[in-house]
């Protein structure tokens, strides 16, 4: 939604788009929230699944993943804020229309930057997850390699200008890794016997 409605550097066009497609904009907000809910569930389940490969690392990865989710969810507040700013409430009459439009665009920018910060945490998460998949015996190593490389890509947002510049390539590579992992998990799941063996071995070590 944001890709269509937000016109970079043009507050007036952005405000007009948002007000014209208010429903679409709200749907975009709902999608962000559903995305985060799914990611939280996925992170929690991944922690449990990858625990046999390294309990502490898996826990650390889960915390990093949750931190990313919290940051991104919080930044979503700035995504919905333009609707309030442009809503035409009486108390906003102290601002001029141009100021309100600029404010709306600013909020959308803050949302973008919040998402970029979250991507760094997701990068660390993907890195650790990839490491755990590499260490595991119940998932193919290539999935771990792809996850590690994807995570390194997201880490480019440590320096946002670099991250934004490389975004199309990083996103494409990240999607490739994610698609492979999704496909594998949906079709094959994990090797149950090996998972149990590794879980048992991890239990013996503790």
């Amino acid at each position: 939604m944001s890709g269509r409605l937000v016109v970079n550097g043009d507050a007036v066009a952005t405000a007009t788009n948002i007000l014209t497609h208010r429903g679409l904009f709200q749907l975009g907000f709902a999608m962000y929230l559903i995305e985060m809910a799914c990611q939280i569930a996925m992170t929690a389940l991944f922690y449990d699944l990858l625990k046999p490969a390294g309990k502490s690392v898996s826990l650390l990865a889960a915390f990093l993943g949750f931190a990313g989710c919290v940051i991104k969810t919080f930044s979503c507040v700035f995504f919905i804020a333009p609707l309030f700013v442009l809503g035409g409430a009486r108390y906003l009459s102290v601002f001029s229309a141009e100021q309100l439009q600029a404010l709306a665009l600013l909020f959308l920018k803050v949302n973008d930057h919040g998402a970029a910060i979250a991507l760094v945490f997701f990068g660390f998460y993907a890195l650790l997850t990839g490491y755990l998949i590499l260490r595991s015996t119940f998932l193919p190593r290539i999935l771990g390699v792809l996850s590690v490389l994807g995570g390194l890509g997201w880490l480019s947002f440590l320096y946002p200008p670099l991250g934004y510049r490389l975004f199309p390539y990083i996103a494409a590579f990240g999607l490739l890794g994610a698609a492979s992992l999704i496909l594998w998990l949906l079709v094959f799941g994990v090797n149950e016997q090996r998972w149990k063996e590794q879980a048992s071995a991890a239990g013996e070590r503790q």
Partner: protein
């Protein structure tokens, strides 16, 4: 003495049978072969009674009840599974298989076993004897589903797919 101890169970170490005194249940699938779990003449009546439903089944795969030991549960909590539980069961077997036999009453003083086994205990379908019977419940079934890593992997895949799709939808469309 060994023979006397084994006979009420119809199961010995050679049969791959184990007994344990425990307080939790798990549901699991087993394969029962005809040769195993033949109750011998010297079995206690309650033992025979409890084992009867299983004895009359055709060989095949059944869903059965298995009690988990406290140690077994601890092992599961710690991420250990089949092997650890099996070890726990084996450790407890020694204790559980040492009931007092009262020659005057010609009775054994332990609770009668029910036939149970688990594929998670061994891929070769070793069988386990558990002391005491319990009922199957939704909670038990849920626990079994929750612990299946394959199912968990698939759920993760579904959530991951939803995450990506909603993310793309929100960002691009």
């Amino acid at each position: 003495m060994d023979e006397e101890l084994r006979s009420p169970h119809g199961c010995s170490a050679g049969d791959g049978g184990y007994a344990c005194n425990c307080n939790r249940i798990d549901v699991t699938r087993i394969r029962v072969s005809e040769s195993r779990f033949r109750v011998r003449r010297s079995s206690g009546s309650s033992c025979r009674q409890l084992m009867k439903p299983w004895l009359h089944r055709d060989p095949g795969s059944f869903l059965i009840r298995r009690r988990l030991t406290t140690q077994g549960l601890a092992a599961r909590g710690a991420g250990r599974h089949a092997l650890s539980e099996m070890t726990c069961l084996r450790q407890l077997v020694t204790r559980a298989l040492a009931p007092t036999f009262h020659p005057t009453q010609k009775k054994w003083s332990f609770r009668a076993p029910i036939l149970v086994a688990s594929e998670s205990l061994s891929s070769t379908n070793h069988l386990a004897l558990i002391i005491g019977g319990t009922s199957m419940s939704t909670g038990v079934m849920t626990q079994r589903i929750e612990t299946s890593p394959r199912l968990k992997g698939r759920i993760i895949g579904a959530f991951y797919l939803l995450t990506i799709l909603t993310g793309i939808f929100a960002q691009v469309s």
